[in-house]
Subunit: 354 residues, 2 copies
């Protein structure tokens, strides 16, 4: 059985529609007069024959340039999480640069909401055509987007979402759902009557939207699964994982509660916990955390971290830029919510994850 795929040319469409090449061209470029019936017929043939017009040529005719502003957390180190969305941003830029798009990147400190405000202010002063932001701090983000709305500047969220905020689009994980996935994996991995610890490394948890959602999804899984209901869950909040007092609090808790057989760390800082487990020779605890950063990979390989839930940060960066581009430059409809996949990484599939 043979099927051939050949390139569709304007000529083929004209032949099929029984019109001139010029008429097809007018429909494709949306100019000149064509009757609705002919237009609809041609569009349906274009669709059917999977013809792909050359968008660049028509857009290049206009000389307008577009300025995008980015507001992201500053990566803590060269290996840390927030370098990754930037890889996707650069990739997107290379694809669209010929359309006259410039991108300005603003970074704030994850430990300091004030730096978020300063950078947000600079963005407003530069009067960009569109903004991509990680609404890391809930309160400060809401102030910023109120101002963007007032000025009719479209904004795309990355990494975490603020519902009912008139955003152009959200690109990222469904944090609640990733919490339920983490819950299932731990539920399956530990004995029936064991206890589970949810560990939040955060200064101001209530201002950190996605951590709240993950925890909520995690608890909800156990509340709604009767067969898993025997497991005891509790949450511990540690402000600073590098601080010795917090570390001692964790190890004391684990040593005095040997029925804790599973730990869920709600962010990428799971390696701090893994280090404590290794140093104290604690065994028989299944650990799940977030994000494929080098520190976490090491503990995944050693078998101290069992699962990492990942969220395709490169893709998030890429899609955020492309979405803004499609809206502003190509004037296309874009999706208001664009959830990236919730990936499960173990020692076994790590080397094949891209």
């Amino acid at each position: 059985m043979i099927k051939a795929i050949n390139r569709t040319r304007i000529k083929d469409i004209a032949l099929r529609a029984n019109v001139s090449i010029g008429t097809v061209d007018r429909v494709i470029h949306n100019r000149g007069e064509v009757s609705k019936a002919t237009r609809d017929k041609i569009l349906s043939i274009i669709d059917e024959m999977e013809y792909q017009p050359n968008l660049l040529a028509s857009t290049l005719a206009s000389k307008k340039t577009f300025s995008f502003a980015l507001l992201f957390p500053e990566p803590i180190s060269t290996e840390s999480y927030w370098n990754k969305p930037m890889v996707g941003v650069r990739k997107a830029f290379h694809e669209i640069q010929q359309y006259g798009v410039n991108i300005n990147i603003h970074l704030f400190k994850q430990s300091d909401p004030n730096t978020f405000n300063t950078e947000a202010q600079q963005i407003l002063e530069s009067n960009p055509d569109g903004v991509v932001l990680a609404p890391f701090f809930s309160r400060q983000s809401k102030e910023f987007i109120a101002e963007l709305k007032k000025r009719a500047i479209p904004y795309v969220f990355i990494d975490s979402n603020i519902k009912d905020s008139d955003k152009l689009s959200y690109i990222g994980q469904d944090s609640y759902q990733s919490g339920t996935l983490a819950a299932k994996l731990l539920d399956y991995s530990i004995p029936e009557n064991a206890a589970i610890l949810v560990l939040q490394f955060a200064k101001e948890k209530d201002n950190l939207n996605h951590l709240m959602q993950r925890e909520k999804g995690f608890y909800e899984y156990f509340n709604s699964n009767s067969t898993s209901g025997k497991k005891k869950l509790f949450t511990l909040e540690i402000i600073d994982p590098t601080d010795l007092i917090g570390q001692n609090k964790i190890t004391d808790l684990l040593k005095s509660n040997p029925d804790i057989k599973g730990i869920f760390v709600t962010n990428s800082q799971v390696y701090y916990l893994a280090r404590l487990i290794e140093e104290n020779n604690l065994s028989g605890i299944r650990v799940i955390g977030h994000d494929l950063i080098n520190e976490n990979i090491n503990f995944l390989k050693k078998g101290i971290v069992d699962f990492l839930i990942c969220q395709r940060p490169e893709e998030q960066g890429y899609k955020a830029i492309i979405t803004l581009f499609e809206h502003l430059v190509l004037k296309k409809e874009v999706n208001n919510e664009n959830y990236t996949s919730i990936d499960i990484i173990t020692k076994e599939n790590l080397d094949y994850y891209k």
Copy 2:
């Protein structure tokens, strides 16, 4: 902190290298005389400034057309696995069609190695520039590629690999490794002393390379993990999952062995097992299988199948075509092995998987 990304133009490279635009152009298009030192300098600047040349323009100058032949299993139904690589093939075709590439698709029956031979013969008669094939049947595939080799026609494998075969490239999963991943997930999901059944739905298992590899990886995980070694494993081969005798064999085995708490089905036909579990009201068995086809998705949602290991079939189809294209048309170096990711899908992350 602000960093700007701006488009790199040939002019910028010329300025930085302190040469004329014409010299940069000669290096980019690899024509005319440029000294090695100047050439190296320009190439390193191109690399550093992340300049992306417009390949199409230079390739369009040549008028040669290329003919690719595909040899894939015929999809059993409109929803079945082998429709998926074709989606990727079409996507790749749309990207490269303007370079004068034609693709001819040959389909063989998964139940009949003779149809593989017939289609392979037709491909040889058409004398294509390159071939993408799923080496589904080991013996027949080896005969075919021996002939391709003789005629110096490059071939790319998709879905399963034949090692040491002078292939241009393999695009697909590491089947052995996906077996170890399935093993880990089942190991974590069932009690310490439970038994595990490996179920092979296959007529001629020995002629089906990837199923053998998956089973091998699965057993190897338990052999090499001392803490998991208490679990008893055994394999059952069922020639035809639609046959009542085979089905009764499975249900009898499960009913008489209540210590079987986990089942691994080595291919996408896990839904046949799930149906038996449902019909016979068997509970407390964790099930893992392969591939995100509709029948499997239903049982994943119902909680009868716990995990599906997936292998990005669309991406495999896409990459196979692009690899052949890069080798034949763009004359680029291509990777000899291109492993796709080994994805874990559960009820919880299903809706976000792409």
